[in-house]
Symmetry: C2
């Protein structure tokens, strides 16, 4: 089983999927177009959110970062007027120190990610979608093109956007094993992550969209839009600004070529017909995850939609 | 007034010099051959020791690092099996994050050092001896050539050494202003730092040794060797292994071309004649600094040896 994942929303669903299905039979393929270099350190926000969440170590208040974190380094950085709008906790810093050190040694991001996941005791496999550098760039009305974290964290995604592009995606190659896993997985899940800036860059890595589309019947997507709004982040606003209908119907249209099934929330039950009209099987279920129990319940719904329910991968 | 400085010993004397002489009239030219890149971060141990000490923020137990430091990042790094033998405290990390960020922006180390010193409120100017990368390499009997921190911290300088060289010193240029300051300073002080691996690399940057030698009459050195031993670090063992007499006489011979005066400790008073025979004026005084009071007393002795006692720079 393969799950295409962004950050917080994907991590929540994965926390349910590893309860509902053997984690050793699962691979999370994670977006890296949010990655950024800060203070010389390579930061991979989505990979870390997935790993920390599955390790039970994520900060439950934010959905990212570590629980019980301290902030001595960031507080001290203020003395120098350094970059503190992207808050890196002291223990979280260790992950970036390790990743940067290993990259400097010439190790691939996929190898390093496996090391980090193993250090946290994860049984599920976690892979970056690519070992190559891809980078979401956001064209804003006020400031022109800026980096993703500049948009997402510093501007708190509170600015008007006219375009999104993924720099480097034309020459990126899928991380070793990703295409093969997509071809052989019994089911593929598209997590309730931002379709534009989380799942979008994953699909844009050459070969990935085709590999997923080739398995369309085995693909179940979960809508990140509930009742016309994103539960978290700027998916709703971005969809609207980039010309998509901001609803489960808009999500269905974005995924129609790669997914046969869309799971939508009960709040959107009245739109099920329109989702089906867009060409997807529509499943209505509670999709808001406020803990492992609701995540596991949603995971069971998702798994019940998958074509192979035998338990084989 | 210019002080050539290494780390802990130099920082202690400087803490006295800024009491005994107007700090605004002082420049510390600091060794950077100990600098290292760890986890992708540029670490400048001697610069930081000087700045933290003069800011009154140094850990009094170690003479380096920050007082009241926490170690969350290093503890967390152990999970990954990362490099933890070089302990970077959480607040200390901020300095390396800032330095690395600014270097990445293209700023010179001298500029960044001035920013860091200003952020700590220092009135004395602090400069790296060079903006270029110089790197002390240590040839050991057991492992061949290794990096300085590998020798100094990881091996706790407890290995036999047959050679020391400063990589990059042939093409390094003095940081802007250093040569000019040496030419115009009323006095030049060589701090009680390791003559081989702290003051040595400073003098090896092309132009520095000549600039100091040209002012020999104005140069006062303080011996880091007291009663045949280094107060801290491997100066004694290194001097012996590299063929120098491990005494104030050995120090005098190392500095005879660049310094006219050597301040030695009372414990070595019986060697004063031999220091004079080596061609230096010998001053006997208490040189062991266990706080600002003794450092200030030593600073006043040093200043009294300087040719210009008028208080002009």
């Amino acid at each position: 089983m393969v799950t295409l994942a962004g950050g917080v929303g994907a991590a929540k669903l994965l926390a349910g999927l590893v309860v509902a299905h053997p984690p050793g039979d699962q691979l999370a393929v994670v977006n890296t177009a949010d990655d950024t270099v800060l203070h010389g350190l390579h930061v991979s926000p989505d990979l870390d959110t997935v790993v920390y969440t599955l390790a039970g170590a994520v900060n439950p208040d934010t959905g990212w970062g570590l629980t019980g974190e301290t902030w001595q380094a960031m507080d001290a950085l203020e003395r120098y007027g350094g970059i503190t709008w992207f808050r890196l906790g002291d223990r979280d810093l260790a992950t970036h120190l390790y990743r940067t050190h290993r990259l400097g040694q010439g190790a691939e991001l996929a190898t390093i990610t496996a090391e980090i996941a193993a250090a946290w005791g994860l049984e599920l496999a976690v892979l970056p979608v690519t070992n190559d550098r891809i980078e979401t760039r956001v064209t804003t009305v006020d400031e022109g093109e800026i980096g993703f974290q500049d948009y997402f964290v510093r501007r708190r995604h509170d600015v008007a956007v006219t375009d999104i592009r993924v720099d480097g995606s034309d020459r990126a190659r899928p991380a070793p094993g990703v295409t093969e896993a997509l071809a052989s997985a019994a089911s593929i899940i598209i997590a309730p992550s931002n379709p534009i800036v989380s799942i979008g860059p994953v699909l844009e890595v050459p070969g990935i969209r085709d590999a997923v589309a080739a398995r369309r019947d085995a693909v179940v997507a979960v809508s990140p839009i509930v009742d016309g709004a994103a539960l978290k982040g700027p998916a709703d606003r971005l969809m609207r600004e980039l010309g998509h209908e901001c609803s489960v119907v808009g999500v269905a249209r974005l995924y129609r070529d790669v997914a046969a099934t869309l799971v939508i929330d009960e709040a959107d039950a009245h739109l099920a017909d329109q989702v089906e009209a867009a060409g997807l099987t529509c499943i209505v279920a509670p999709t808001v995850m406020d803990g492992v129990e609701s995540a596991t319940a949603l995971a069971r719904v998702v798994l019940s939609c998958a074509p192979d329910k035998s338990g084989a991968h």
